[in-house]
Symmetry: C2
Subunit: 378 residues, 2 copies
DNA sequence: TATGGTGATGGTAGCGCTGCCATCAACAAA
DNA sequence: TTTGTTGATGGCAGCGCTACCATCACCATA
């Protein structure tokens, strides 16, 4: 009796024997039923059911030198932002045979490199990575990955393969222009920690102020300083924002710029903190102070007053990335290398200084339908 | 020239040849360096580096009838709650050779079954699943999975294998008792959509009110009704809460129960909406109305007034689950089948009706150190 | 009738790795 | 010396599946 190392589960050979066909026919019937005649397909399906056969993906991957794994690298798992992108990705995968494997780079290029190397061991069917600031090594790994690579949440003239996102510079500029239009003059930029996308927003903010002759390095420089300050304090190395940070950052910025009359926050969470700080100080929004955030998470609309923000299409970005990936895997042509999904400046009461917007809180640009952004049911 | 189906990447045999050793020795050197002498290990490492060898995980998994995949099933990706659990899981995995594969069940038992079947094709090294309300089929699959299975975020007398979580009933009861203690009498329960964990919280709430002789089915029944209402309205089938939902639900509950003087919200996001609604109506919190949430997300502390909540240890649950998994994989004994990580009732200004708590907003129970819960930097 | 094309099916030979055993040197114990 | 033990190393034979080709029946065309 020779010893077998199997775990006892039925194999494709067992199914083939039971159905009275060759193993390869079973393989075909499972992968693409149209390749097999109806009669055999039914016999095979029956055999699969009777035996409770479960295909072994490792064997499939080994034999075909190609797995069904789609590797996804995001800089953060906790933020709604990337959670939304991920949700779009999962929704795009749907019930296909593809599987997602997520790596959390924590905004660390070395970690990104390491995770990428791990992913490549799987011979992934495709890769989705966040942003464009990979290390040269990582970039080379992506180029040699021998599978479609989609970059997301930013734009670039020179994507590895394809990129889907929007211009953070333009978004930052658009919101700043809105703040200027409604009459704010001393507009600060509030940010905890800056990544390349934040920097794009900041540069848009600076450009808008410069064009309006309102640029003051004091307001702009503060961003970097405050970010450093944020990292030094009780806020640890995890690179995310909290409302408490927003409160502290606003207090600090006010100390430096007493005549500040509005802030453009790098993200909504900071904006929420700013609103709380204003509430606590009894400062009226938007009359005495304007508040704008970024991303338009769902609490922005529900806040009192509703908070202006830049709506970004995170779910769509993730979803479209997978659709593009699937297209490429199916061999369909895909010539658009750069896809700009755009953004919307959502003007709400928190920046309605002159009462010029329509019904307070609802004078949105284009009134796009609300995104499905989740909250907290356990 | 025989045709090879390889993708041209170096294999373990190439490394072995270059290092002048047997393939199996390379295999050992890579898996457990201590099994190989220093001299050979160095030669092998050099060969790996020179060739840029990347192990093929599919081949490894096939040969060893065991993959390095840890399957994780969560009901939602977007909620901070499960994002925190996931972060704990990723942190627990660290730099081990294990990989995570996440499935999003969307609170759907059929989908959970389907995802589980998918996962089992990988011959996973371990499984982490949320909660205890699997379908009988899913339960059977878990029991036959032939790998460690950890259930998380709930408790049960009869775990598949091991469970790590806390009692939602006790947590709901404890917060309700706090509301009673500080003097509220007409305490509502606010919830969008109820899952088994929400129901646990609700039952704790009911029990506390009954024990205090304050139980009124009007307040308690409202929860179910309102949840149904929530699902009917603009809120779609995604089963999460938004602040806007909190506002609408509170308005509806007030219509039914005009003398309502506090609400215990099923989650923090609803509580935030309730606060906004109170702000908008000019109702003073906590004097005229008490607000409590659940989970203690980071905006609760920063709100104005700070909002009371039940702190849950999501990161720890995920982290401990992986640690337990790794223990079992290493063959270490692990007799504790049920791990209760507990919870903390965080008493803040939003429920400080009589001003009995210390400094308003900081009289926490046990003052546990704040959890790292992320916000929104893109 | 001969020929060739088409579609369904099967056999063989790997895919790259590891489990199992064998081997062998070095040394301890009898 | 003989025997046994230990640790390092290697050979062989799969793991379960699919790529590649061969085969064969069937039909259309010359």
């Amino acid at each position: 009796m020779s010893k077998r190392r199997t775990d006892g589960k039925p194999t494709i050979a067992d199914v083939a024997q039971r159905a009275g066909v060759g193993a390869i026919t079973v393989s075909r019937a499972l992968r693409d039923p149209s390749l097999v005649s109806d009669a055999l397909r039914e016999k095979i399906d029956a055999a699969v059911r009777e035996l409770g056969y479960v295909p072994n993906l490792a064997a499939r991957a080994l034999a075909s030198t190609r797995s069904d794994v789609v590797g996804v690298l995001v800089p953060s798992l906790t933020q709604h932002i990337f959670a939304d992108v991920l949700r779009g990705i999962y929704d795009g995968i749907g019930k296909t045979r593809l599987h997602i494997q997520v790596g959390n780079t924590r905004y660390d290029l070395n970690e990104e490199e390491r995770l990428l190397a791990e992913l490549l061991r799987h011979k992934p069917a495709g890769l989705i990575v966040s942003g464009i600031d990979q290390s040269p090594t990582a970039r080379r790994m992506l180029e040699n990955a021998n599978c479609p690579v989609i970059q997301v949440m930013d734009l670039s003239d020179d994507p590895v393969n394809k990129i889907i996102g929007f211009s953070h510079h333009n978004a930052g500029k658009a919101m700043t222009q809105h703040l200027i239009e409604v009459g704010y003059r001393r507009i600060g930029f509030l940010s905890g920690w800056m990544n390349s996308r934040s920097k794009g927003r900041l540069s848009g903010y600076v450009e808008a102020l410069e064009e309006a002759g309102l640029y003051d390095p004091q307001l702009a420089n503060a961003a970097g300083d405050l970010g450093a300050l944020a990292l030094r304090g009780s806020w640890d190395k995890h690179q995310y924002s909290t409302p408490a940070m927003g409160r502290e950052l606003l207090a600090e910025l006010w100390r430096r710029v007493p005549d500040l009359d509005a802030v453009f926050c790098n993200n909504d969470v900071l904006a929420l903190g700013v609103l709380f700080e204003c509430n606590a100080r009894g400062i009226s929004v938007p009359q005495d102070f304007g508040i704008a955030g970024f991303n338009d998470e769902d609490f922005m609309e529900a806040a009192s007053p509703p908070l202006s923000s830049v709506r970004t299409h995170r779910w769509k970005v993730g979803h479209d990335a997978v659709i593009a990936l699937r297209r490429q895997l199916d061999g369909e042509p895909d010539d658009e290398k750069v896809i700009d999904v755009g953004f919307d400046v959502i003007k709400r009461a928190s920046t309605d200084r002159g009462g010029v917007l329509g019904r307070a809180g609802d004078a949105n640009v284009g009134t796009p339908k609300p995104m499905a952004v989740g909250g907290g049911t356990v």
